[in-house]
């Protein structure tokens, strides 16, 4: 499998090292000759080429036509977009992957058919969001004229409910855990179901039971 990486900054270099370590055939393309020389000293001359990855002549020379994967990881979204788009439409490369620096640009990449994008900001944000949202009891709906609430809780590894069976939990009266979402699988729940860290628990709770549910599932603040 031949992978072309466009952009020899920190991301490109780290990625190139990992791929070489796993014995993949790669070529790291870098526009700046001085930086390219530095890269060649680090990962070997035969794995580095100098040139602008947006230039069709360069693309031809380094073999876009026989690449299985083209990965664009420069710091400029417009460059990554053009590299990937040309790889797809001019050279029929099967798989292209683009680094997206500004998450607001992700939609245009998708719109033009570059389906695989990686946005560092997006990843950090979603990790952060998971941290913030764990152990928070969120009302997601109401049933029976508002007398029963549907609550959602994501269990952190500090939750007192983790590694316990549902029957061992001290749930409020008339409260039912109806569903657990684990990864992207939904699991129907009975008394023997064991809860794990990271589970998204969906419960039906009488209106005044939310506080007690929180006590059963959410770690006490120190």
């Amino acid at each position: 499998m031949y992978s072309i990486l466009v952009g020899g900054g920190n991301v490109g270099l780290a990625l190139a090292k990992r791929l070489l370590g796993n014995n993949y055939e790669i070529l790291l393309l870098e526009k700046d000759p001085v930086q390219a020389e530095r890269l060649a000293a680090l990962i070997g001359e035969s794995n580095v080429a100098v040139g602008d990855g947006c230039e069709m002549l360069v693309q031809k020379e380094i073999g876009f036509g026989r690449a299985d994967v083209v990965i664009a990881v420069t710091g400029e979204d417009e460059d990554n977009l053009v590299v990937c788009q040309m790889a797809k439409v001019v050279w029929n490369v099967d798989r292209v992957l683009a680094r997206v620096n500004d998450p607001a640009h992700e939609s245009i990449f998708t719109r033009i058919g570059i389906d695989d994008t990686v946005s560092a900001t997006g990843i950090i944000y979603s990790l952060l969001e998971q941290q913030i949202m764990s152990d928070t009891v969120l009302p997601v709906g109401a049933l029976g004229r508002g007398n029963i609430e549907v609550m959602e809780i994501k269990l952190s590894n500090r939750s007192p409910a983790v590694n316990k069976r549902v029957r061992e939990l001290r749930l409020p009266l008339q409260t039912n855990i109806v569903w657990v979402i684990r990864g992207d699988q939904g699991i129907s729940v009975d008394g023997d179901t064991e809860l794990l860290a990271g589970d998204m628990v969906v419960a039906l709770v009488p209106r005044d039971g939310a506080e007690e549910l929180r006590d059963a599932l959410v770690p006490q603040k120190p």
């Binding site: 947006c54 230039e55 002549l57 031809k60 417009e78 977009l81 053009v82 040309m86 033009i112």
Partner: protein, 150 residues
């Protein structure tokens, strides 16, 4: 008509002045305020400082009501990306892109974009001037010269 021009270099400023003096409603997007001096005084264009790749800036420039968009910064890739944002996300009916690299221009012409390659126009006109050929339509010059095909 309402037009939005991204880039106030030699091309963008000249285009903006020519269209504004013909009564069109011209909005110019430019990142660098000092580039605006090219417009002189009383230029009659509306100015938005920022990048044409930025959704908020495009909206501020009135992209939703624009009849045409011209991407004329000095960066081919910036122009090509902006052109695709306004065409796909904002349905601007007419989009014109300046692309200096003739090969890249050809690739995007094949995708349906109207790309103007200044060097190809200049070289073609100069060739015909030198060989004393009658000048032809722009479409005869604004193509990938066959000597450059790969």
């Amino acid at each position: 008509m309402k037009v939005v021009i991204f880039g106030c270099g030699r091309t963008g400023s000249s285009l903006g002045l020519q269209l504004a003096s013909r009564g069109h409603y011209v909005t110019i997007i430019e990142q660098n305020p000092s580039a605006l001096r090219r417009l002189g005084k009383d230029h009659g264009c509306h100015i938005i400082i920022g990048s044409g790749l930025d959704e908020d800036i495009l909206n501020k420039a009135g992209i939703e009501e624009a009849d045409a968009f011209f991407a004329v910064t000095r960066g081919d890739n910036t122009n090509l990306m902006a052109a695709q944002i306004v065409k796909l996300d904002h349905n601007v009916p007419r989009v014109c892109v300046k692309v200096a690299d003739p090969l890249r221009a050809e690739a995007y012409r094949n995708l349906g974009f109207f790309c103007i390659t200044p060097s190809a126009l200049t070289a073609g006109y100069m060739r015909d001037w030198f060989t004393e050929q009658p000048l032809e339509a722009i479409s005869e010059y604004n193509v990938l010269p066959k000597e450059l095909e790969i």
